[in-house]
Structures are given as C-alpha cells and as structure tokens.
C-alpha cells in the first residue's frame, strides 16, 4: 500500500529479512532522513515525504510478519479454502471473499465460515450482521481464542466503548465530595430517628 512501491525495496532489505534486520534498517533510514535535520532547508519537503514513505513501509512489513506468525495458528475449515479467504480479507478484497463464502452451501457452514463471514461484514461496516456471525462462530466453537476475541471486541463496542476517549469525560457525575458527606449525614439522621446510630461522633 506504499503507493505501489515495494516496502522491502523502500527499506532496502531482502524479503527473507528477520524482524531485527528490518528494525535496524528502519532506524538507519530514520537517522538519515529525520526532518529535524532539514529545518529551514529546501530539502525539507523531500525529507518529509521520504519519512512518510519509510514509516508506511515499516508498518507494512511488520504487519505482514505479525500476520504470518498468526497464520500458523489459524484454524481452518474442511469445506472451503479458508486460508485463501483469509488472505483475500487481509488484502482488502472483500467482494471476492464474500463471493467464495456465499458459494458454500448452508449445510456446510461451520464455525470458521461464520467467523470469516463476520469478518467480511465487519470490514464492510455491516456491524449488526458481523456481530450475529461472530456470536454464531463462538457458540459453535467456544474453545477458539480467535473467535472469542472477535466477539469480545464487538461486545465492548456494544457496551459503548470508544477508543481514545480522553479521561475525565462524562465521569464527574455523582462523585462530589460534598454530596457524599451530605448523604452520610442524612443517613446518620435517619438511623438516629429509628434509634440506631451510623456515625457515633455526631
């Protein structure tokens, strides 16, 4: 996605490079092109552009590595080529992935199918359908960590979780110190009315 450029070429590493090698190459390039060095310099724009390109390439390669690690633990389905569908979803080819999934007959739809269908719906932004599919997958195969993680994430969102919400928003209700004391005194009076005592000193 680096505007058509191969991220490995951008970072100048081979395709078989390890994570450490990629990180080292990245650090080297950042040193070379860091915009701070080009302040008040006509080359500043070029440096900025180059930096953006390097960052994007780095993210892409690291993402690919992480995904590959993940891939080896993937579950699969006996009814259709789920690795292919996963790959299509990963690369953003949602329509094609959906087509393959639709081709599976309703009697052959297993947990993996529902999970992938849910992923397709989620990518499309059809969240209600995605949720239904994820819950179906998780109920068909409750032991699969990947399915329950997906379902958990959606459950958090359904509960109103929004990432990046600054702390302090909407949280200063009913947490007033004065109110708390007031409540305690009232409670104490009530207790005293009935012959008991909540706060012995007053």
């Amino acid at each position: 996605m680096t505007n058509g450029k191969d991220p490995y070429v951008v970072l100048g590493v081979s395709k078989g490079a390890t994570e450490d090698e990629v990180k080292a190459a990245y650090k080297e390039l950042v040193k070379k092109y860091h915009p701070d060095q080009y302040q008040n310099n006509p080359l500043q724009d070029v440096a900025n552009e180059k930096m953006a390109e390097i960052n994007e390439a780095y993210d892409e390669i690291i993402n690919r590595m992480r995904n590959n690690e993940y891939q080896s633990t993937y579950s699969s389905s006996s009814y259709f080529d789920s690795a292919n569908v996963r790959n299509l979803i990963q690369t953003g080819n949602i329509t094609e992935a959906d087509n393959i999934l639709s081709g599976v007959s309703p009697t052959q739809r297993d947990a993996e199918w529902y999970f992938l269908k849910g992923s397709v719906c989620y990518k499309r932004g059809w969240f209600n359908e995605a949720y239904d599919n994820f819950s179906r997958a998780a109920s068909l195969n409750p032991n699969n960590a990947e399915y329950s993680a997906a379902l958990n994430q959606m459950n958090n969102q359904r509960g109103g979780q929004m990432n990046g919400m600054p702390s302090g928003y909407y949280q200063n209700r009913n947490q007033d110190a004065c109110n708390c004391c007031c409540d305690l005194i009232c409670l104490d009076s009530c207790c005293e009315c009935m012959g008991g005592d909540l706060i012995p000193c007053c």
Binding site: M1, N3, A52, E56, C121, Y122, G125, W126, F127, N128, E129, Y131, M154, N156, Q157, R158, G159, G160, Q161, M162, N163, G164, M165, P166, Y169, Y170, R173
Partner: protein, 304 residues
C-alpha cells in the same frame, strides 16, 4: 444536511465554542457568496464538523474576522474568512441539501413537500455549480440516493442494508478529504461509520411519524421480526432503544478506531468533543425525544 452531528455545548470551552461558531459562520457566508442567498438558510452544524475535519487534515490555520451577520445584525461576531477556504464544506452542504429536497418531494407530508417545492428552484443553479467542481462526489451521492429509494420501495431491508446508502454517501464525502491512500481509506471508513450513526438516529427520530403514516422504517422491520408490538404512542419501548443503542455503539466504536488512527492535531479538542460526547449526546436527546433540530436545547433539558 442532517443536523445530528454537533458538539456537546456544555463541555466546550468558551474559545472552542467561538471557533466552532466562527467556522459555521464562515460557511454560511461562503454559501451566500457562491451559491446564492437562499441556500445559506439550509446550513446545519454538520457542515461545520466537516469543515473542521477538512481544515485539520489539511493543517490549515483558521483566519477569523469580526463581522456582522444577517442572523444577528445588531452585534459583530467572529467569522471565519475566505482565507480559510471553507468551499468544500459549503459545496457538500449544497449537494446534500439538493438531494434531500428531491427526496422530500416524494414525502407524504404536505409541509415537507411544500417546503421542497419552494426551495428547489433556488438550488438548481447552485447544485449545478457544485457539481462541476466535485463531479465524482456528486455522482456517488446521486447513486446512493437511488439506492435509498429502492430500499424504501422494497420495504424489507434490515438495519445494515438500510444504513448503506447514507453510509456510502458520507464515506464519499469524507474520503475525498484524504491526501495519502492511508488517510483516504481511514477517512472513508470514518465517514461510513458516521453515516450509519446518522441513519439510525434519524430512523429513531422518525419512527413515530413513520408508524403513523405507514412509511418504511428499518426499526419497524426489526419490530416485526422480533414480535414487538407498539402503536407509536408514548415512550419508545425498551427493546427498540436497546437495539438502537448497540447499533449506534458499534458504529461509534469503529468510528473511534479510525479517529484515533487519523490522529488529527489541529482543533483536536473540538473534534474530540463532537466525536466522543456530541454524537452520543445528540442520540440520547433523540431517544428521550428532547431533540431540537435548530441546535438549541430547550430550557432545562441539558444534561451533563
């Protein structure tokens, strides 16, 4: 536009509110200048949000001037000047309002129809002008409107499908703002989620009217599928509001993910307010039937 995207005023700082208002004011003036006097009366705060995102993404500074304004001729208010270039927001506002009016013509209610008939002639020219500049966008919007009509005729679509046209429309509107491919994709998804939020809120807002007039509403389909019986009188049944809650929350959750990834620096506090507080607050107002289209809370209805 729709009027559901606004800040939670109680939580805005004074200077933030002034900036927010001055952007709104600037768009209004820009519309007057380029599209004619009548168009400016259809402006809503949605456009101000779009303009703020636009300015933030382009890292533009806001230029303001004290000016008199037609709505408050007796005092001068801060107003964003043309140096800030608010043309995208005003053009989009015209494009969307035009399609909304065309849509209203098909509405059963007499008042809406009349208003649409009265306003449309003023928008014809403005629409053509905006179309020339943003051709692909206007095409995408009209495509989405056609889809909307088909869904309303079909009367069977579930909530996800029903949200699609509005969501695609907003996806196109926000996607246009991005510079790099990554930014474009994030903004497009941001817009898509925002469109879903708008549509569901609107569906809840219109539910009583649609039940009374027998019009299509995705929430009616939900009621039918889940055996909820309600004649549209009194409070919304809990099952309906619960369903809307989770639908809205899922959309806003995904929207927040994109918003975080976009990491917009400029006008951060105002945008935060709208994204994290304003949207939910507006939806809550709709849910409690306290929502006022003119962005003025009825006295005593503000909840913190």
């Amino acid at each position: 536009m729709f009027g559901y995207i606004r800040a939670h005023k109680a939580y805005l700082r004074m200077y933030e509110y002034e900036i927010y208002r001055s952007v709104y004011c600037g768009i209004c003036k820009d519309m007057d200048r380029r599209f004619g006097f009548v168009t400016r009366f259809t402006l809503s705060y949605d456009a101000a949000f779009l303009a703020l995102v636009d300015l933030s993404v382009r890292k533009k500074k806001l230029a303001v001037k004290n000016e008199r304004c037609i709505a408050h001729p007796w005092k001068k208010t801060m107003c964003a000047t043309c140096g800030s270039d608010l043309s995208y927001a005003s053009s989009v506002s015209v494009l969307l309002t035009y399609h909304k009016l065309r849509d209203d013509l098909a509405d059963k209610g007499f008042k809406k129809k009349l208003a649409a008939y009265a306003l449309l002639p003023f928008f014809k020219k403005a629409y053509r002008k905006a179309c020339v500049r943003y051709k692909p966008l206007s095409e995408k919007i009209s495509e989405a409107m056609k889809m909307q009509v088909a869904i309303e005729k079909d009367k069977n679509a579930g909530i996800d499908q029903a949200c699609e046209p509005t969501a695609l429309m907003m996806q196109a509107v926000f996607g246009e703002l991005g510079k790099s491919a990554r930014e474009k994709a994030l903004l497009a998804r941001f817009g898509y989620c925002l469109g879903r939020y708008i549509y569901v809120t609107d569906a809840l807002d219109d539910l009583k009217k649609d039940i009374a007039q027998g019009d299509y509403n995705p929430l009616k389909i939900y009621m039918a599928n889940n055996g909820i019986e309600w004649d549209g009188q009194g409070k919304f049944p809990k099952q309906i509001t619960d369903f809307c809650d989770v639908t809205i929350n899922m959309s806003l959750g995904a929207l927040a993910d994109c918003y975080v990834a976009l990491d917009m620096k400029r006008f951060r506090d105002i945008l935060d307010n709208i994204v994290y507080l304003g949207l939910k607050y507006t939806y809550d107002q709709v849910k409690q039937e306290k929502f006022n289209k003119r962005n003025k809370d009825r006295k005593g209805t503000t909840t913190l």
